[in-house]
Amino acid sequence: MAVRAEPFVLNMGPVHPSTHGVFRMRATLDGEVVVDIEPVFGYLHRGIEKLAEQRTYNSIVPLTDRLDYISSMSNNFAYCLAVEKLADIKVPERAEYIRVIMAELQRVASLLIAVGSFLNDCGAYFTPFLYMFRERERIVDLFEMVSGQRLTYNYMRVGGVSQDLPEEFMPALRKFMDMMPRFMDEYDRLLMQNEILIARSRGVGILTKEQAINSSASGPVLRASGVNWDIRKADPYSVYDRFDFDVPVQESGDCYDRYRQRVEEMRQSLRIIRQAMEQLPSGPVRAEVPHLVRPPVGEAYAKLECPKGELGFYLVSDNSIAPYRCHIRPPSLINLTALRDMVRGWKIADLIIIFGSIDITVGEIDR
């Protein structure tokens, strides 16, 4: 009797423990091998771009917090850069340094979650995740000192930041910086050479250099595939050209390289924070701009190196107090276009790991 096999469609639904949010994948399987995958999203489409057309420039900042909700400071920063480019506003020095410190601290906090959930997907159920959370709580305490909030900060304004650092911030930051490298070394010792991690992620889900550039991947995903492109070096914004840091690049583009890339980037962020702390000048923290900013007619695009990739804001203005069009370039959505090529030929268990190594946030995909 001849046996016939047919491909079978499996729906990994919007409510799933490993899909990092409400994200749905329809996987076509041949046995256990994945043949094709169709991502379905839109379950968190809140209409942020439409809402932004009805709000003034400064009141869009809380909306941008909720885009990639685990790295709110970077979102605020990108939006404020775009408005300042459009309206040609010069930001004072102290505000620039404060913004850099906040953005790099936020990068460390966000990469901790990325790495923790990747290890969660690999099978180390919750233990490394909770270790990461312990460190993230310290960073979140620093942010709470500055802005009063734990998750969506709403700290930056057009022309600077909303208020100056309190006096207890710098001693607390110094204490954190002394403790953090010891934690990173402990973490490296526990996990880098772990057999299970290497067996599950080495050589899995390879993204070649040409595919990465063609799918416009950005951030750690692009650099893990061998492309040396970091916006902080290639097109420096704010005061990043005054700091001395390296851009780690890995070679093969598999899941283990992406994980390693994120850990190395955390170390470089700590280097930048140390230099910014030493060079912090004094002065005003906000430029003299009216609260209702009215930029001239025109358009501007400003991009920023977020923990997930390249976040950009494209603003079109018609000389009124609200933007005519505000488009957000989401790094998670565009990194996902490479998912189909990465996943073909692997099994379902590898699908979860490959998907976790891209590190998406659904709030940014759906906006």
Partner: protein
């Protein structure tokens, strides 16, 4: 620093190859006719010296009498960038050729523009709504929706 190439210089190069395809050019951007969009895209990607292999974003803006679709292209090797635009004057059934075969990252972004603005991209392998559900009527980001 990424150098933003002037639209005028690139316009002369495009005019040599495909005459009549540039509608207007200025130092900030370059507006191309919608029929020649795919040829111009391939030309910009493959020519030595331009090498625009990285598509930053694709988006659309609704000016009341026409739609304008903007593409920001970059070259990682030479570190320069260029903004290309195409206009669509039809309000009922706007259509443009799709550039998915040139840059694969336009896949989801063109579906998003179809969903929110209604612009149809010909040649796209999977043209259906992406953020809103299948029976939704209307295109929310148009200026005359609500």
């Amino acid at each position: 620093m990424t150098v933003a190439l002037s639209g005028k210089e690139v316009a002369t190069k495009i005019e040599e190859k495909f005459s009549g395809s540039v509608v207007e050019s200025s130092p900030e951007n370059l507006v191309v006719k919608s029929d020649n969009l795919l040829d111009v895209a391939r030309f910009l990607k493959e020519t030595e010296g331009l090498d625009f292999d990285y598509l930053n974003f694709v988006t659309a803006v609704d000016y009341y009498d026409h739609f304008e679709v903007a593409y920001l292209l970059s070259s990682l090797e030479h570190n320069h960038s260029l903004m290309v635009k195409a206009r669509c004057y039809d309000r009922e059934n706007p259509a443009l050729p799709s550039v998915v075969s040139v840059w694969q990252s336009a896949d989801f972004q063109e579906r998003e523009i179809y969903d929110l603005f209604g612009i149809n991209f010909e040649g796209h392998p999977n043209m259906k709504r992406i953020f809103l559900w299948d029976g939704f009527e209307g295109h929310p980001l148009r200026k005359d929706y609500l």
